[in-house]
Amino acid sequence: MNVRVLSFARVREVLSSGQMTLDLADGATAADLWSALERGCPPLRELAASTRIARNGRVVDGCEPLRDGDEIALLPPVGGG
């Protein structure tokens, strides 16, 4: 299945891309997606603890199953205002 991945701020800089499409095995979870990203980009590891994952606009935890066509956003700690 394919999911669209949006990333922001520090995570975007580490990934060198704000937007990508990932091909994941059916049944993959949010945590599996993060692991796949870390494999391709090891420096991402140190952001794991502070980055929240949103699936279709809602923050989820790692065990959340993903579905084809999902929009996943990687959200580092916020700094608005």
């Binding site: 606009g57 959200l75 700094g79």
Partner: protein
């Protein structure tokens, strides 16, 4: 009610007028401005903001709804600018109006506090030497 992420300078006066109503006696407006120094005393040339817009707007809507419920009938407008801002420019404006000033103050304060904690918006401080640093808010995780 205006709840927006914008790329152009924020018109604070317009935002204040958004929340006006004939039976409201008080409006409190908070404006967050890019300052020339950070809390460590380091000289800042500007801030670069980015947002995940749909979730940021949803956060503004949730915050405005909570405020309306908590301070019955209060009207709230929020605008946050993204992109590269210079020192002295307005990054965020919150306007809250109510029958009496107590609710206007409380709702305005609530909104900016919650925005800083919850809205998916990020800022990078830019320094004179060309470097930069992402700045998290306290409780911004």
């Amino acid at each position: 009610m205006r709840l927006a992420i914008v790329r152009e300078p924020i018109d604070v006066e317009r935002l204040r007028r958004e929340v006006e109503r004939d039976d409201f006696g008080g409006v409190t407006v908070f404006v967050g401005v890019v300052r020339c120094r950070d809390d460590d005393g380091r000289s800042v040339t500007g801030l670069s903001y980015e947002a995940f817009e749909p979730m940021a707007i949803a956060a503004f809507e949730a915050i405005a709804g909570e405020a309306r419920e908590r301070w019955s009938g209060v009207a709230l407008a929020i605008e946050h600018r993204i992109g590269d801002l210079s020192v002295g420019e307005v990054a965020v404006a919150v306007a809250a109006a109510a029958v009496h000033r107590e609710a206007a103050f409380a709702a305005c304060r609530y909104a900016i506090d919650q925005l800083k904690q919850r809205a998916p918006i990020w800022k990078k401080e830019r320094y004179a030497d060309g470097s930069g640093r992402w700045k998290e808010n306290a409780c911004g995780r």
